[in-house]
């Protein structure tokens, strides 16, 4: 089915982004309201597209009326629609938070540019979710990478400049790898449209084994770097912890995820599960996801800075997602895809709550924040809920994704992966629980000088915490959609 709404999710935020840069110097309040309105409109369009896609199958739009291979096609399948709705909804909540927080955390005078970057990032991430053309995917990846480095660099903290530069350089290495991979794939198949490349690849993979293998390796390295696949995560702790809190929530919640979405498409739609499982790819991914799950958590335990701890936790949680991709059984893949959704909710809740706690407490040191929970009970309660979801306590959404990952591992008769998932979950408990306990019961005296956060900051945090519980108790959305997407990817 064709859809006229489909290009809007990319074009609308991009256009608004350029308008925001122009209007921001005149009236910043207008830009804030306008950006939130665009983001909410994006979420509403995504919801309509999701409904249409689940009713009548994938939506297609031919850019400029030209069909592939001449033109670029956009396609929104069920998986893409869930991701698109996640992007729109989460971005709206973060933008509401940012409308109050951005003025405090960005360097003087750059707030208009910040809104412009947030909108461009929204458009680029949506572009990655809907495109069906490999070169278009590269362009959207680049736009999103530059915007992501931008929303780190706007921070007031001088360390953010260094973090942003490191992020930019490593992400440029990734981009180079992705472009070279695209070039090799084009050389081998003669197409850039995902479906056509996939068809031809099945025929030529036998005749050009080295070229196609090199392309696969380059894509894994390129998107692995951008998605912080261990040990390519070295840029992430600095970038995610020095950025303003709304940026951290978006970077950890959405930006690293859309690169995984791109990788899912490459592995399961371009290569297809048969070619992919004949390559060394799954073994490498499996090994790295183990290292990520365990070592990411170990590094997180060693942190004293709250936001750095959350950043290392992202490295470890990306391990679960990659585990699902590598195992490639229907339940495990569904668990991995579900964790993309669930981790986005939990981690953005944690980063936004941490942002409020840090700005009120005036410190980023975990030990110095003892007792803050009694002064700010709602924020800390939301933080606690999301932390429980990270650990995977039943009743939260983290439990559901880990459950499906474990089921998938058991389906394959490999219970050792379940052991690693459980071990990593225990490690998550080791760094989240002490913070929660000391925040509520520690001997600090924040009650006298700190009050609860205002509604604009508190609202998004509470909504996200509620969403963590809601999708834990009633997981039918997005679980049903993602299970059928996983079956579709695996061709059964």
């Amino acid at each position: 089915m064709t859809s006229r709404l489909l290009p809007l999710v990319v074009v609308l935020p991009l256009a608004a982004g350029f308008l925001a840069a122009w209007a921001g110097r005149k009236n910043i309040a207008l830009v804030r309201a306008g950006a939130i309105a665009v983001s909410v409109a994006h979420a509403a369009i995504s919801l309509a597209l999701l409904a249409a896609a689940s009713r009548s199958g994938p939506l297609v739009h031919l850019m400029g009326g030209w069909a592939a291979p001449v033109g670029i096609e956009l396609r929104l399948d069920l998986f893409g629609a869930v991701v698109l709705f996640l992007i729109g909804g989460l971005n709206s909540l973060v933008m509401v938070y940012a409308s109050r927080d951005a003025a405090e955390e960005t360097a003087p005078g750059v707030e208009p540019w910040y809104w412009s970057l947030l909108l461009v990032l929204l458009g680029a991430m949506s572009g990655i979710a809907v495109t069906k053309d490999l070169f278009n995917l590269f362009v959207m990846t680049e736009v999103s990478s530059i915007a992501a480095c931008g929303i780190v660099a706007v921070s007031r903290r001088p360390a953010a400049l260094e973090a942003s530069f490191k992020y930019l350089i490593l992400s440029a290495v990734g981009s180079g790898a992705i472009l070279l991979g695209t070039g090799l794939l084009y050389a081998a198949t003669g197409y850039l449209d995902i479906d056509r490349v996939s068809e031809v690849l099945r025929e030529v993979a036998g005749s050009f084994p080295r070229v196609t293998m090199a392309a696969l390796a380059l894509y894994l390295v390129g998107f692995g770097l951008k998605a912080a696949l261990f040990p390519l995560h070295v840029w992430l702790p600095d970038a995610h912890s020095t950025a303003p809190s709304p940026s951290s929530a978006l970077l950890s919640g959405l930006v690293v995820k859309v690169y995984v979405v791109a990788l899912v498409r490459l592995l399961y739609q371009v290569w297809g599960v048969e070619l992919f499982s004949q390559s060394p790819g799954p073994t490498v991914l499996l090994l790295l996801s183990w290292l990520a799950m365990v070592l990411g958590s170990v590094f997180a335990i060693a942190q004293r800075d709250l936001k750095r701890m959350l950043a290392y936790s992202t490295v470890s949680q990306m391990g679960y997602i990659f585990l699902g991709l590598a195992l490639a059984s229907p339940n495990a893949l569904a668990g991995g895809l579900l964790h993309i959704f669930n981790h986005a909710l939990m981690k953005s809740c944690l980063f936004l709550a941490a942002g409020v706690l840090i700005s009120r407490a005036g410190t980023r040191d975990i030990a110095a924040m003892a007792g803050i929970g009694r002064a700010m009970p709602l924020t800390t309660a939301a933080f606690t809920v999301a932390a429980m979801a990270m650990i995977g306590v039943p009743g939260t959404n983290g439990f559901i994704s880990k459950w499906y990952l474990s089921l998938g591992a058991l389906d394959l008769g490999r219970p050792v992966h379940v052991a690693v998932v459980i071990f990593s979950s225990l490690l998550n408990g080791v760094y989240y629980l002490p913070f929660v306990i000391s925040a509520f019961f520690g001997a600090g005296h924040y009650e006298k000088r700190v009050t609860e956060a205002p509604g604009v900051l508190l609202g998004p945090v509470l909504i996200l915490a509620a969403a963590c519980i809601w999708t834990g108790l009633f997981p039918r959305f997005p679980l049903d959609q993602l299970i059928s997407a996983a079956h579709g990817f695996l061709g059964r």
Binding site: F135, F138, V139, E142, I146, C149, G150, A153, R157, P158, A159, L161, E162, S164, F165, L168, I169, A172, V173, S175, G176, L179, L180, G183, Y186, A187
Partner: protein, 122 residues
């Protein structure tokens, strides 16, 4: 073997330049050299993709004469035009960051910058 090597000279050249660029980016402490490395790496990919469409003696696709098979494939060049624009913007952004870093830390050496950041006030 030599024939197939020479026939794939563009592959070899691109891989060599790519490796040189990547090594420069990761191994050099000087931020400007990192950016130069980034450009060498990007250029390697650009040359490689453009060479894919090249036919010896072929004409540009805009000329109306000659059989269709003799046209140089215009798609790789068109793609790389976009790639170049992206590389230019990334370079501009990276250079702007270096200017900011120099203003703030007084150095463009990565190690020295980290040292000054640790010792200085946050």
């Amino acid at each position: 073997m030599t024939g197939s090597l020479l026939g794939h000279l563009n592959f070899l050249g691109a891989m060599f330049l790519f490796a040189v660029g990547m090594f420069t980016m990761l191994a050099h402490g000087n931020l400007i050299k990192k950016i130069i490395g980034m450009n060498i790496m990007d250029t390697a990919v650009f040359l490689f993709v453009v060479s894919l469409g090249y036919i010896r003696g072929g004409t540009p696709a805009i000329e109306a004469s000659g059989p269709a098979a003799q046209y140089v494939n215009p798609l790789p060049s068109a793609l790389i035009l976009t790639g170049i624009v992206i590389a230019v913007s990334t370079t501009a952004f990276a250079l702007a960051l270096v200017v900011k870093i120099h203003a703030r830390f007084g150095t463009i050496d990565a190690d020295e910058m980290v040292r000054r950041m640790r010792s200085g006030p946050q």
